[in-house]
Symmetry: C2
Subunit: 306 residues, 2 copies
């Protein structure tokens, strides 16, 4: 069965190497997915470069929305809010993207802080690691919010029946970790989690690689970002792994009312293409709506009692 048609808004100006890598990524994504439509948000000449490289037939799948400078990312988010696109992809600064998405698309029930979720392949299955860059200096309550987001995402996107949620720390014995981890662990032990999920306690850095005890690993955006970038580089240097088994350099923004994918600022064309593919897949499987739907006001109460 051919995949459903989906239209992704792409921020042509996001990323350290934009627009060149975005042009490259958009072309690769179009060629890989015949049912993909793109709304290119940025300067006309950049969109023109992409269209010129496509066949006349493919060109019909690519549209343009004029925007310049910092406005491109916000305009791409608004294209989703206004129904002109199904999802948005940007390699622009994470903080700016998160703010624009929250303001433009609203939030999930009970979630005050969005989180970026990276999915890491492990020998024991996929692990959702969040946050990887949206929440810096989070409160313990924000970490419990990440647990809600990760639990529903694992259930919906990966079909995990009863997601195991672990808290990243520096030892597995209760009480290990810094002040925010110790406080978050106490809250998590008392919380009701959605989607049949349960809290399995503390896990260490190797869990994100081995996937033995948790389907979801929650952490602050600082630690998650450092760990993800370290692992990406380690797999690249070590080699010996199937390229399909390395972490994708694109992350889903969970907790905002629309499908938003954030690529690393140092993204390559390949990374942008996989970010666009991730956005298309999330939309085709209705992941954001279904995930948000699993969060009820009950969880909001638990989530705020700390």
């Amino acid at each position: 069965m051919a995949p459903d048609t989906v239209r992704i808004a792409v921020d042509l100006l996001g990323g350290d190497q934009a627009p060149a890598v975005v042009v490259d990524g958009a072309l690769r994504a179009c060629q890989a997915d015949p049912a993909l439509h793109l709304l290119l948000v940025g300067p006309l000449e950049v969109a023109g470069e992409i269209r010129a490289a496509l066949t006349a037939e493919d060109r019909d799948r690519v549209h343009h929305h004029e925007a310049t400078g910092d406005a491109a990312m916000r305009a791409a988010v608004h294209a989703v809010a206004d129904g002109h696109a199904h999802a948005v992809v940007s390699a622009g600064p994470t903080g700016t993207t998160v703010t624009a998405a929250r303001l433009g698309l609203g939030r999930w029930p009970g979630i005050r802080r969005a989180a970026l979720a990276a999915v890491l392949p492990t020998p024991a299955g996929r692990v959702v690691l969040l946050d990887v860059g949206a929440s810096v200096d989070p409160s313990p309550v924000t970490l419990t919010g990440h647990a809600l987001l990760g639990a529903v995402y694992a259930a919906v996107a990966h079909g995990v029946a009863a997601p195991r949620v672990g808290l990243l720390s520096i030892g597995v014995e209760p009480g290990k970790g810094d002040a925010v981890r110790r406080a978050a662990a106490l809250l998590l032990a008392e919380m009701a989690l959605p989607a049949g999920a349960h809290y399995v306690g503390l896990v260490e850095g190797d869990e994100v690689v081995l996937g033995e005890h948790a389907d979801v690993v929650i952490t602050d955006g600082f630690t998650g970002n450092v760990l993800l970038k370290g692992l990406e580089a380690a797999y690249a240097v070590a080699g010996g792994r199937n390229p399909n088994d390395v972490p994708p350099r694109a992350a889903a923004l969970l907790g905002v009312g629309g499908t938003v994918v954030v690529c690393h600022g140092a993204a390559t064309g390949d990374d942008l293409a996989s970010g666009i593919a991730l956005a298309a897949s999330l939309r085709r499987h209705d992941v954001v709506t279904a995930s948000a739907g699993l969060l009820s006001p009950d969880h909001e109460v638990s989530h705020e009692h700390g």
Copy 2:
């Protein structure tokens, strides 16, 4: 030239799998290094097990100091303080070891907080990552102390002429990171560093793997520990690397007045053996005394002005 004789105090009861893995590690270390002497600190029956597995000749290199329970690690540290051993190795709880070492061995000039330094092989040379577990919730001033420790260690242990010191963060542009990183970056930019070292600014998680911009990467013990355990697991899973090129599962404790090596609580016999070998090498090259000697009261002033 045969290596100098050196005597290492080994905590027989440290580690999740103690004493079995310590017995194994001690035997491997003895067999690998004919000039190594061990002071086995713990129950007599464990020391006896090690001695029974050695030839009569090798047995003369192995001595015993009775201690039980939590006292074994402290007794091993005191053996160094009292001159009965040159260095100490433990896989016991990091916090306990650090406290015992600080109380038993004193501190380096200008350093209030010790740090665990891991050395990571990279395609561009060795990178010293610290702290990997001793300082949880450090102040910005403690991170500047890590910069002093890392700089002199890279100079002395690795012969780096003008060590480049980077601060681990989630972007390289000034201002990136959480509150403690932003404050530490301002202090580091103003500091005089010892050993000809200089601060190169922010680096990301991949730097610890690639080694392109820094010889020393400083961070808090939480982030460093998570990253190190993640990388160890990634290299193990990915394969494809020379076993000599993976991070050792032992770290030098810098900032205390003696040679102390801490192994992971989940250390294997191999890990213990490499921890003992690291301690022997640090002592033979007089790394701790020489590193501490490079820190003058000048650095103490810079270090405290935040």
